[in-house]
């Protein structure tokens, strides 16, 4: 497993891809979850009650960055896209959790879809932590399967 990581991330472009994906996810997620504010000036704050939520966002962003970059490597190596979908699904599920809460996204969803939007919004808010945990689980599974597959493919190729 370490060997596979070493092979993939010995190429600096995959490190850059991982860092890029991490920030592409992390910044919007901490903004919609109201940890980071850009107006009226840049403010970052974590209330004690939201520490777990913040930790899950960090974890989700890290795992997503690994899952997607490993799959990009895998696609380039063996020209198969079958696991990149799972990593995107895992990321989307995790990103959508808590995105609604009381923010403008919830307002748009409720204003557009009425009662159905309200139910969906409250579901995503109430089950924010379990949904994020499920998505982290999906991403861990994707990373594990991808690494196993890469180890197998690498043995064949090299």
């Amino acid at each position: 497993m370490n060997n596979t990581f070493g092979i993939v991330y010995s190429n600096p472009s995959y490190i850059l891809i991982s860092i890029g994906i991490f920030f592409i996810l992390f910044i919007p997620l901490i903004t919609i979850s109201e940890f980071l504010f850009f107006e009226p000036f840049l403010v970052f704050s974590i209330y004690p009650e939201t520490t777990l939520s913040f930790s899950l966002i960090v974890t989700l962003s890290i795992f997503s960055s690994f899952a997607v970059s490993l799959n990009i490597y895998r696609v380039k190596l063996i020209k198969q896209t079958k696991k990149i979908g799972s990593s995107i699904i895992g990321t989307v599920i995790g990103a959508s959790a808590g995105a609604c809460s009381c923010g403008p996204i919830a307002f748009s969803v409720i204003a557009t879809f009425g009662t159905a939007g309200s139910i969906a919004s409250s579901f995503l808010t109430v089950y924010e932590i379990p949904i994020r945990l499920i998505s982290i689980g999906i991403l861990i599974l994707v990373i594990f399967v991808t690494i196993k597959s890469l180890s197998r493919e690498c043995k064949v190729k090299f």
């Binding site: 107006e39 009226p40 209330y47 979908g85 990103a95 409250s122």
Partner: protein, 226 residues
Amino acid sequence: MVDAKKLGVAGAAIVLVTLVAVFATSYMSDFETARNPSPNTADESQAVELKHAPVLGSKTATVTIVEVGDYQCHMCKLWFEETRPLIIENYIETGKANLVFVDMPFLGSDSTPASEATYCAGDQGKYWEYHSMLFTYQEEIDDGWASANRLQAFAFNLGLDIEQFDKCMRTDDHRAQVNSNMQMSKKQFGANSTPTFVIVNTSGESQKIIGAHPYSTFEKIIDSLL
């Protein structure tokens, strides 16, 4: 036959793009309204309407903090627990600022009755006590924590005249006020999320804050408006 996995990938990509688009449009409009507050933000008509709103603190304070909120919003509860006590201690109790709450009940079906109940409690002189009770005992959206029975129980715990409170709730005495606040939140304060704050001073200068910001943000803005 279409490859199901390719279809799955395409579907996931579409969902991701949609989420990003919704996020971007919602927040861009937020930033825009924060940069260019509605020209009516501190106009006379709004001041007149707010005259009838319950005020926490001195009515003659230099700065008024208008909070637009929903009693079912958990970020409003966080702000209520973490930031509001410091504002009360440093600005409201010292007479520098006062606080007005404007209802924007959009999150669930129990939001509007909860707002109405605060005004029914206000009829008996306990608006802010009831307001605090709702945020203290807030649970998940529409899970029954703000049902008619619970609202009555909160009134009972505050020692309100239950018969008068029930009559007020039954006859929707304050529905028009809650609806008017909802309209005011959107049109005059440009709020599309809760909590949203508009901090205005007696000279008419104002600053909008979107979200449950920490105390430091309020401290900087209030001090600049004093």
